[in-house]
């Protein structure tokens, strides 16, 4: 079971961008978590799938970065790489850096990475039913971290676990701490998962589609809870989602992913007002809107590219309504398009001038 690992080769220069340059100019020194020039391949029998092709993003303390994109765009793979829980092989990190408080995690030792997990960076998974161990009580799964990592006694750990369950507003935490995951409802299970991720007071919380498996009313409650916890603890949060509605409410910044790369990054207000990439615009247009009731929903034509054969030039050009010859030839670089905004599109200038 290889979940630890180091890049197959030393990080080399990314063809697209200087790995050292932060995506968005920001005040102060080193960001809390910064991913740059991350390349990951899946070496399968069918060939090499280039799953990540130079991903970069960063998140600061007290900030929520939403990573947006279709299924298979590399959102979760990026998160798993940051956590160091990518299965290698088949996956291989071929280039890039993941800096947590300035320290490159990809070159760190396995034991140092383990220390960072849970305590530095914690993760909430999509499906809490399968992500929680079915044969242990919820309490045990929270307490084991406290006892292993904090050296707490059984009794103190139990007390703290109840506090954590209280914190995520699980009613009757005292009784529920002794129950098994299957005795929890979907929403309660996700709350328990959040409590578990908070046990070691992480500085960064990665939430991988935390509400996808839940029904709509519960989704809103869980998102509110996450946002509140993130604010109170001044955590950096990476929120992976494909739900644009969720993003608008809680995110500070948005990074849009397509075919294993970031195609646009901007603060939430400006990106909603004026998307700087045709893909972002297509995503926004595909949202159901109240003023378009009764009309057919807009969709993005075509399918995401196969990662074993990413088209030459801009990977979005086969589906892009604005594609020109240049797009078929040259892969656009991720360049600044406005104050604190970047986009990887040859025609982003026209997009920004539009409307």
């Amino acid at each position: 079971m290889s979940t630890e690992g180091h890049p197959a080769e030393p990080p080399n220069e990314s063809p697209l961008q200087d790995p050292a340059a932060p995506a968005v100019v920001q005040q102060g020194a080193e960001p809390l978590l910064a991913v740059s020039g991350l390349h990951v391949e899946f070496r399968t029998r069918e060939g090499v799938a280039r799953v990540l092709n130079g991903v970069r993003y960063h998140v600061d303390a007290g900030e929520t970065l939403a990573v947006l994109g279709e299924s298979g765009s590399g959102k979760s793979v990026t998160a798993n790489t940051v956590m160091g829980i990518l299965e290698m092989p088949p996956a291989a990190i071929t280039a890039g850096e993941i800096r947590f408080r300035g320290e490159d995690l990809l070159t760190a030792t396995a034991s140092r990475r383990r220390e960072v997990r849970g305590e530095g960076i914690a993760m909430i998974f999509q499906d809490a039913l399968s992500a929680l161990n079915p044969v242990f009580t919820v309490g045990f799964q929270i307490e084991e971290q406290l006892r292993q990592r904090r050296g707490m006694s059984r009794r103190d750990a139990r007390k703290r676990a109840i506090e954590l369950l209280d914190l995520v507003r699980i009613p009757n935490a005292k009784g529920r701490v002794r129950q098994f995951p299957h005795e929890f409802s979907g929403g309660m299970r996700q709350r328990a998962m959040i409590a578990m991720s908070l046990a070691l007071d992480p500085e960064v919380l990665i939430a991988d589609e935390p509400t996808t498996a839940l029904d709509v009313t519960v989704q809103a409650q869980i998102m509110d809870l996450l946002a509140e916890i993130q604010r109170e603890r001044n955590m950096g949060m990476v929120l992976i989602t494909h739900d644009l509605g969720v993003v608008a409410e809680v995110a500070d910044r948005i990074a849009v992913m397509y075919a294993g790369r970031i195609v646009e990054e901007a603060d939430v207000h400006s990106i909603y007002r004026q998307p700087g990439h045709p893909y972002t615009r297509a995503l926004m247009d595909s949202m159901p809107r109240l003023d378009q009731r009764g009309q057919e929903l807009n969709t993005i034509k075509g399918l995401p590219p196969s990662l074993t054969a990413i088209p030459k030039g801009c990977p979005f050009h086969p589906r892009c309504p604005m594609a020109i010859d240049l797009c078929r030839e040259k892969d656009p670089e991720l360049l600044p398009i406005a104050e604190g905004r970047v986009s990887a599109c040859h025609r982003s200038d026209e997009l920004m001038r539009d409307e």
């Binding site: 849970g118 998974f125 044969v135 292993q148």
Partner: protein, 308 residues
């Protein structure tokens, strides 16, 4: 849980009556004269046969016979053989040996099978994996009597490491080699079952979660992975112990062990109906109780299973 156990125990009663009746029916319906050859070279005298038929109620209708047998059985009386030995004594001589043999076999199965399964399940493809896959296939394919005679000939007669046959008191040490032979096939199954279970669970989401929580590798494997993978393996071992308790006719025969399997075999050959019925009745009860224990253990291992 309590109600479930009570219900299961009550279910034992009809099963017990049904099986004993069936066995009784089969044994007494066996063709041939049970007294043939009992009196040496000459046929038994009429007077002797008459006494025996009277003593074993053989002239009563079958249901009356069975009723009388059951009544005695419920009082703890297993009856006598034709030569007058108490069946209860025969069983109490043979059963401890069978239990020892079964426990040794179970230990081999569990120890070697589980360790081989964990090693190959965790590592995945490679030399070790191939070695275990091929050797288990080999063990499964070869009948026990071949393994038994092979072990007896090589280690007992040629190398002289073990006694080729087991003495009358059948101590733990003497039963190691027969126990290994008896375990060989199930050991291979345990190894494969463990390997599959581990390989399946190591990609499970909850294992990934344990890693993401920053749990050390030995806890990820030793606590999170093993506990989940143990469920099918423990179930198999429990059921197998039930089967082992039923004696091993082949292994006992090869190593000359005076166990319950041999007792049944000899009794059937000699048409000792009382002995056959007595032993099989006991084995039925043991098997039913073992099955109940396995079902209960299953609920202990997997909290998602509730019997209410």
């Amino acid at each position: 849980m309590g109600r479930y156990v009570a219900r299961r125990l009550l279910q034992l009663i009809p099963v017990f009556i049904g099986t004993t009746f069936l066995i009784y029916l089969l044994v007494w319906a066996l063709p041939g004269d049970p007294f043939a050859g009992k009196c040496g070279e000459r046929p038994c005298p009429e007077s002797f046969v008459a006494v025996m038929r009277e003593k074993f109620n053989m002239d009563d209708p079958l249901f009356i016979q069975y009723g009388k047998y059951l009544l005695n059985l419920l009082q703890g009386d297993f009856g006598e053989t034709f030569s007058g030995t108490s069946v209860g004594t025969l069983i109490s001589n043979a059963y401890p040996v069978t239990i020892r043999l079964a426990l040794i076999a179970l230990l081999f199965e569990a120890l070697i099978g589980v360790i081989a399964g964990i090693l190959t399940g965790l590592r995945g493809r490679g030399f070790m994996d191939n070695l275990v896959l091929v050797s288990t296939l080999f063990l499964i394919a070869i009948p026990t009597f071949v393994t038994g005679y092979l072990v007896q000939t090589v280690f007992g007669l040629q190398l002289g490491w073990i006694a080729p046959t087991v003495s009358g008191n059948a101590s733990w040490g003497e039963l190691l080699a027969p126990g290994f032979v008896l375990a060989s096939v199930s050991m291979a199954y345990v190894a494969r079952l463990t390997r599959t279970s581990i390989a399946e669970n190591k990609r499970a989401d909850f294992v990934r979660t344990a890693v993401a929580k920053g749990q050390p590798q030995h806890r990820v494997v030793g606590v999170h992975l093993l506990r989940n993978s143990a469920i099918p393996v423990v179930t198999f071992l429990g059921t197998d112990l039930g089967a082992l308790m039923g004696g091993a006719i082949v292994t006992e025969g090869i190593f000359n062990i005076n166990g319950i399997g041999g007792l049944v075999f000899r009794s059937i050959a000699r048409q000792e109906g009382t002995t056959v019925t007595g032993v099989v009745v006991l084995l039925v009860i043991v098997y039913l109780v073992m099955n109940l224990l396995v079902d209960l253990l299953y609920a202990v291992l997997d909290p998602r299973i509730r019997y209410d």
